[in-house]
Symmetry: C2
Subunit: 310 residues, 2 copies
């Protein structure tokens, strides 16, 4: 039986082989584009952004494991076979996102982006900032990654509010749900952190209209999917001064194309889709756990639900 791998580029195959040799010694590990793979032997696929139509080629495919927490890079395939999908949920991914949320919210809270820009011009200038206890952070999405991030931000002292589809209640966090509550949620958000799942409903949710609902001087962080942000609208809001700064980890096209204006914008920090990236050993452990659980009794860990869209 074959475990087909498409994650991290073909150069990472030797490392995946070493990791899976220990964790799943009975499986044959093959790269996605290996021409010698016999389609009927493929039982498992561990993938990031498989080409549409490809997964349908494997008649005995039992389980797909997504290399990321989201599945939008898989489920857009019109020929997607009816096979369960386990969404990457390495405990490390949660910890990584929590760290990234803290790092980037604190970066904007303490206006480090201004110091980075001032340093280039050799400008020594204090920036008066409020303490965390008086700073409001709004987290969009309170799921597997969003909720732990919101709790961590609350625990370091920020005033945290959360916006989610279901409007769950969380201690010490003011929660909002549904489109109708967006003006109230955004109106009281000084640092916006987007950790939403990518669904048709959330596409373009950070646009001219919603950015205008944020108070003047707010900052925006997107560590979910590029599709959530209308980049031209964000750039206009940065240039008008309404939005103070932005950190973006995800983009419609990745790697971010060389001619993107985001690379050189003085108010934008670009990170290369690393927010929740666990190291390979951690991801391999989740793949092994998902396959073991499925083999034991058909359990699909952290299963993709087509009805919800994530």
């Amino acid at each position: 039986m074959i475990l087909l791998v498409k994650s991290g580029g073909e150069s990472s195959l030797p490392e995946w082989r070493v990791l899976f040799a220990t964790l799943l010694p009975e499986l044959e590990v093959r790269w996605w584009n290996d021409p010698e793979v016999r389609a009927e032997e493929v039982a498992y696929a561990f993938v990031w952004a498989p080409e549409p139509g490809r997964l349908a080629r494997y008649p005995n495919l039992r389980l797909v494991v997504s290399s990321g927490a989201g599945v939008d890079h898989i489920v857009g395939d019109p020929a997607l076979p009816c096979v369960p999908i386990a969404k990457m949920a390495a405990p490390e991914a949660v910890a990584r996102m929590r760290e990234y949320a803290l790092a980037t919210v604190l970066f904007h809270h303490r206006k480090l982006h201004r110091f980075v820009a001032n340093q280039r011009a050799r400008i020594w200038r204090e920036e008066e900032t409020t303490e965390a206890a008086r700073r409001s952070v709004g987290v969009m999405g309170l799921g597997t990654l969003g909720l732990p991030a919101a709790l961590a931000l609350r625990d370091v002292g920020f005033r945290v509010r959360g916006w989610s589809r279901t409007g769950r209640e969380v201690e010490g966090i003011e929660t909002f749900s549904g489109r109708d509550s967006l003006p109230a949620f955004l109106g009281g958000t000084e640092i916006l952190l987007c950790l939403l799942a990518a669904t048709p409903e959330t596409a373009g949710i950070i646009c001219a209209r919603s950015l205008a609902m944020l108070p003047a001087g707010a900052s925006v962080i997107n560590a979910a999917r590029g599709s959530h942000v209308v980049v031209t609208d964000l750039l206009a809001a940065l240039d008008s001064g309404h939005i103070e700064a932005a950190t973006l980890d995800v983009f419609d096209v990745e790697p971010l194309p060389e001619d993107s204006p985001l690379w050189t914008h003085p108010k934008v920090l670009v990170t290369p889709h690393v927010a929740s990236l666990p190291d390979r050993a951690a991801r391999a452990r989740f793949v092994a756990a998902a396959i073991r659980a499925f083999e034991a009794d058909g359990t699909v860990l952290n299963r993709y639900d087509p009805a919800r869209g994530y």
Copy 2:
């Protein structure tokens, strides 16, 4: 009675006047260089870096309040009068330093400095990083500012070790004390955060010898005093690659001179002595509390002890 003020530059005097009019309405608030101040009427001085010899001119001076947490900018005066000194300890200063510690340690932990540099060159490159639970942060100085910072770093998940003069015990933090323990302390420190008081014993403590004790790839943050770091040694360690990156908030000469090589070094983040800076309202509240306590029964809040040197 006069409260003489030298903090934040003369342009801040109107704001200080408004704040103190509410908090200490019985005192006359005058700027440090006001030629019309009658020396014998000065009862209190709230200062940052007063010129040597100046404080000795006021025969009825009762209390000096330092505008910063340290007093090295005051006690170097050879003509320092025998007047008690209260060191700024606005609760906000502790919270600010805790935030700065979190912001800068997370900045280095997640290698944001590399992304800042890569962005300028339009380079999209993942940086594999360990999670906080496997990352060791060493805090030098476990005093008023250092201990809360160390605890906050522990609470967000880092492995924290502390080095202090007295070697106090702190739950969940491995502590070290004395010069003899420096090799052991530094040898296990991946991100070093210096929050020491500035004394003759700690001057130049971050030098070629101690930097060499850090493991290769370590990062250095100094938010205490410029005198702790031998800048030429730090630059050499950055250039050799032994030290990955540095964030510096304090310098021997401030503002940092325009010709300092720190401004343009690609591995250095310069912040303009803002780490623990509370806003003016918070500092004014501490000054008022210190004067009230002194007037009530001679208590000196957070008193400078010449024997310890801080």
